[in-house]
């Protein structure tokens, strides 16, 4: 048989080789396909939350009407009348014949629109008596119609809006009174009640997450650096050291919800309940931060130890050789060299903690927070939500408009996570040293 001809056996073996390679490629392709679908779903479903439908209304701020509205019990209802009157007038001026009755106004305008107007008046009292053009939020149904989520078929048994209202909306678009714009309120605002998805925002939960991340940083960085220095530089090889190491590697694999149970029992029931430490109460970012700290600590310790291990022994030897104590060698020479690695590990640990939801649910960080939080102490101890918890709350409200908000919240969360990871990568690139 010639060497230049493939024998049937070689052919078979080569075919098996190609098949095997293609399995690998198919696996990678499948994984990447899932990634693309997932990201596509997130962006496709969530980007709508960053867009808000608004009605452009030139409101005539009649001094008498405002005084009357401020004097009454339901202050916003007076402002609502002002808006409806101004909008009707504007519609007539633009040649729309349809009547804007109170039902149509309710169907099209967000229930928060009167408050927007009121806040404007309170902030700019000089405007009273003149006409100001305001962009007022449309209702969630109208918003859904503008984004294609709500159609004439889907509202057949909807009491809040009728096809006639949608016709009116089409006319408003025609004359330029109805438009879409970037929704800053979603980034800066607070949660809103069940029926007002168009007014809800992530702002409060971003603050809650920020507070928790500060707690995690303040707890984890010093403890993990100290623990790692001990284990890498000082610990004798004995049973205790071994026990600590086994503990750390096991804690790194404990499910996050167990840390939620720990935080509930140790901080809220024992610390806040039995001992009565006032700051340890349910829904407080301080407690959430502590729960996440315990969860993240093993991860950061493992990263910190790797960073310390990467500093060559010659650095320690040189310091010891010129008379430094062991402690001085570590704190003056080894630790600064390991710092970039420690920071990278810490940021990645923080990113993991930022996306964690389950422990927050157990310590009650799903509080409905509508008020702003002020003051340094209350920033950490007042009930709040975290970003993933806010997404969870919205997803459980089981409605198209809320699902859109939840996906939008995910986009915001992923942007934060991406930024943290990019900072970590840049730190690693800039400071990484190979000896």
């Amino acid at each position: 048989m010639s060497l230049y001809l493939e024998s049937p056996r070689t052919k078979k073996r080569n075919a098996a080789e190609r098949r095997f390679q293609s399995y690998g490629l198919a696996a990678i392709a499948a994984a990447l396909f899932f990634l693309v679908v997932l990201l596509g779903q997130i962006i496709g479903n969530g980007s709508g939350a960053f867009i808000q439908t608004r009605l452009t209304v030139p409101v005539t701020l009649d001094a008498a009407a405002i005084e009357k509205a401020e004097g009454s019990m339901m202050k916003t209802s007076g402002y609502r009348k002002l808006i409806v009157a101004s909008l009707s007038a504007e519609m007539q001026a633009k040649g729309i014949e349809a009547e804007l009755d109170s039902k149509a106004a309710k169907a099209l305008l967000s229930s928060g629109a009167p408050n927007t107007l009121r806040q404007h008046v309170l902030a700019n009292p000089a405007d009273i008596g003149s006409t100001v053009t305001l962009k007022l939020a449309g209702s969630s149904r109208l918003d859904g119609y503008m984004k294609g989520r709500v159609t004439r078929e889907s509202i057949s048994d909807d009491k809040a809006i009728t096809p006639a209202h949608l016709d009116l909306a089409d006319e408003l678009i025609g004359v330029g009174l109805l438009s879409k714009g970037f929704n800053w309120g979603f980034v800066t605002g607070n949660d809103a009640s069940d029926l007002r998805p168009e007014q809800s925002g992530m702002g409060q939960s971003v603050l809650g997450s920020l507070a928790m991340m500060l707690v995690v940083l303040a707890v984890c960085l010093p403890i993990s650096v100290a623990a790692s220095i001990y284990l890498e530089e000082f610990a004798p090889k004995n049973k205790l050291t071994q026990f600590i190491e086994v503990n750390i590697s096991n804690l790194a694999a404990v499910p996050s919800i167990v840390f939620g149970i720990l935080a509930l029992a140790a901080f809220i029931q024992f610390g806040g309940g039995t001992i009565g430490i006032e700051a340890f109460r349910a829904s407080a970012p301080l407690v959430g931060g502590l729960a996440l700290s315990l969860m993240t600590l093993p991860t950061i310790i493992i990263a910190t130890r790797a960073a310390l291990k990467a500093v060559p022994q010659s650095m320690r030897d040189a310091a010891l050789g010129v008379g430094a104590s062991k402690m001085q060698a570590v704190f003056h020479h080894v630790l600064p060299l390991a710092m970039p690695g420690i920071m990278t590990g810490t940021i990645i640990g923080l990113a993991a903690a930022l996306g964690e939801t389950a422990p927050l649910l157990l310590i009650g960080m799903v509080a409905f927070v509508q008020t702003d939080i002020s003051g340094a102490t209350s920033f950490f101890t007042d009930p709040n939500v975290g970003m993933p918890a806010q997404i969870y709350i919205w997803a459980t409200r089981a409605d198209g408009a809320w699902y859109e908000r939840a996906w939008g919240g995910i986009i915001l969360l992923l942007i934060f996570l991406a930024c943290m990871n990019i900072v970590a990568i840049l730190l690693r690139r800039k400071f990484e040293r190979r000896w």
């Binding site: 073996r13 080569n14 080789e17 095997f20 390679q21 399995y23 198919a26 696996a27 990678i28 499948a30 994984a31 990447l32 899932f34 990634l35 679908v37 997932l38 010093p222 403890i223 993990s224 100290a226 623990a227 001990y230 000082f234 610990a235 600590i244 503990n247 750390i248 096991n250 804690l251 694999a253 404990v254 499910p255 919800i257 167990v258 149970i261 720990l262 029992a265 309940g273 039995t274 006032e278 315990l294 600590l297 310790i301 104590s325 402690m327 996306g355 964690e356 939801t357 389950a358 157990l362 993933p388 997404i391 969870y392 997803a395 939840a406 995910i410 969360l413 992923l414 996570l417 990871n421």
Partner: protein, 507 residues
């Protein structure tokens, strides 16, 4: 020390005898700073200004004095903060009239009431709704205590009885005197530490050794936090689980085949573990069936075939999949994969599926989530197989795929098994994904398109909301937590043993 005593007295009166914790800590920090300068200057003075004559560098003497101020006082402060409320509580509990607890109220609930009233009175004094004298002499006949406390933001469930108010007043008096004693003792400890360090400071004192020993002790303490956390988890789970088993038969829990909790059900409601465990295992099996082949083949390709450039692009992309939080996967299961499966297998299609949540939905998405986990662990293990093994096999004429299948994979097998066990432990502990994707009712069924629930999802649902922490349907969550912890711990330990055995083989 006479001067020190007078200073404490002055500080005490300066703070009105009622120093808050934060003020106290600020005072301690100020004392520590003072200690630093006193220690440093005394050391220099003892060497008549010549730092070279000192045993240690001057700042070590300062640091020594500062540490001597802070450590005893802060330790005392921490211990007192934890122990004092417990002992006050025990004191009050003894003086509770027997009639109060027998009315069906547990002692704990009564104590919570007492503390709420006491806290409310404190707040009322701070808010100015009550003078501090009036708070001492308040009684239920002349004042509506509930309305008064409601006005300062302390909501009470029921009206305040005269006994509770009396207990609350005792509680206030005791905690006030306790905090006064603590402030005095803590400041005394700080001053004593300062005086001790100051007197000990001279040029031959080995300040650096003392300071470094303290720092070393701090480092050891930080390393112990890992043990403390484990102990904390152990106690948090075990106490509440035991409490649950006092209310509920452990055999019914471990071997019960129905899960149907309802509030107020007491010990008769079915709280069987088996359906939840089955849901957990079923979902994990489907997830592994997705993640293991895809993850393993991806790892083999990346480790054995891919060029460094391809590897450098694909690996970070897979890591993106790993960095996405599990709540995102949960929403993906609920809103994308679930409806998609429903279209194919639901009533309009094959008719096997009733709703978007099912074992299959959660399992598939969890599989996607675990792909990067399996692939990166397997990748590490495959690359750790010595190159000599491959070279030998290729040199004998085997194709790369034959080398991988018959040489590399058998060599890496223990490590890969370890990785798969770790992935299983991940799947069992995953929470948010199954909360959204799997369903709410515990069921024993073989149909993968049926909604079932898991251990983790039930921990969340039993512990959130208005939970009454004395009812078995809430306490069962701790038993579930213990089960989860034990199972995942066992899997992790087994995986670690396998992986470390494997590493020894080739290192």
């Amino acid at each position: 020390m006479i001067g020190g005593g007078r200073l404490i007295g002055r500080l005490h009166s300066f703070a009105g005898g009622d120093m808050s914790a934060s003020t106290l800590i600020l005072v301690l920090i100020a004392l520590a700073a003072l200690g630093f300068f006193l220690g440093r200057s005394r050391a220099l003075a003892s060497a008549s200004g010549n730092a070279q004559a000192l045993h240690s560098r001057p700042h070590f003497y300062g640091a020594n004095a500062a540490l001597m101020v802070l450590i005893p006082s802060l330790a005392l402060f921490a211990v007192w903060t934890v122990v004092a409320p417990l002992s006050i509580k025990a004191d009050i509990a003894q003086s509770v009239p027997s009639g109060l607890v027998d009315e069906g109220k547990s002692l704990d609930l009564l104590m919570t009431d007492v503390r709420n009233v006491a806290e409310g009175l404190d707040r009322a004094v701070v808010a100015g709704a009550l003078t501090s004298d009036a708070a001492l002499s308040i009684d239920t006949e002349t004042t509506d205590v509930r309305a008064l406390l409601g006005g300062v933001g302390v909501a009470l469930g029921a009206n305040v009885g005269p006994e509770v108010l009396k207990l609350a007043k005792t509680y206030r008096a005791k905690s006030a005197s306790s905090s006064n004693i603590m402030t005095g003792l803590v400041l005394a400890a700080a001053m004593a530490g300062l005086a001790f360090a100051f007197l000990r400071t001279n040029k031959d004192f080995r300040a650096r050794n003392t300071v470094e020993a303290t720092v070393r002790a701090t480092l050891i303490f930080a390393a112990m936090v890992a043990i403390l956390t484990t102990v904390g988890i152990f106690f948090a789970l075990i106490f509440n689980t035991l409490e649950f088993f006092q209310l509920y038969n452990w055999k019914d829990y471990l071997f019960g085949t129905t899960w149907h909790p309802h509030s107020g059900g007491g010990s008769d409601q079915p709280l069987g573990l088996i359906p939840l465990l089955w849901g957990t295992i079923y979902i994990s099996l489907i997830a592994l069936a997705v993640a293991v082949p895809i993850g393993l083949f991806a790892a083999i390709y990346l480790a054995e075939y891919a060029s460094p450039r391809v590897r450098g692009t694909i690996k970070p992309l897979l890591e993106v999949l790993a960095g996405i939080p599990s709540i995102v996967y949960g929403l993906f299961a609920l809103l994308t994969v679930g409806p998609l499966l429903l279209k194919v297998f639901g009533n309009e299609g094959l008719g096997w599926m009733q709703g978007a949540s099912s074992v299959m939905t959660a399992g598939l998405v969890m599989g996607i989530m675990l792909i990067p986990f399996v692939s990166s662990l397997s990748d590490d293990i495959i690359t750790a197989v010595p190159q000599a093994l491959r070279d030998g096999s290729l040199g004998l004429g085997a194709t790369p795929s034959e080398t991988i299948r018959q040489v590399v994979l058998p060599a890496a097998l223990p490590g890969i098994v370890g990785a798969i066990i770790l992935a299983t432990s991940r799947a069992i502990g995953e929470t948010m994904l199954v909360v959204f994707g799997a369903g709410a009712a515990g069921k024993l069924s073989l149909n993968p398109f049926e909604a079932m629930t898991t251990v983790t999802a039930k921990i969340v649902s039993q512990l959130t909301g208005d939970a009454d922490f004395t009812a078995p349907e809430v306490l069962v969550a701790y038993a579930l937590g213990t089960t989860l912890f034990v199972v995942t711990l066992c899997l992790n330990v087994i995986a670690q043993i396998i992986v470390s055995k494997y590493q020894e083989q080739y290192s």
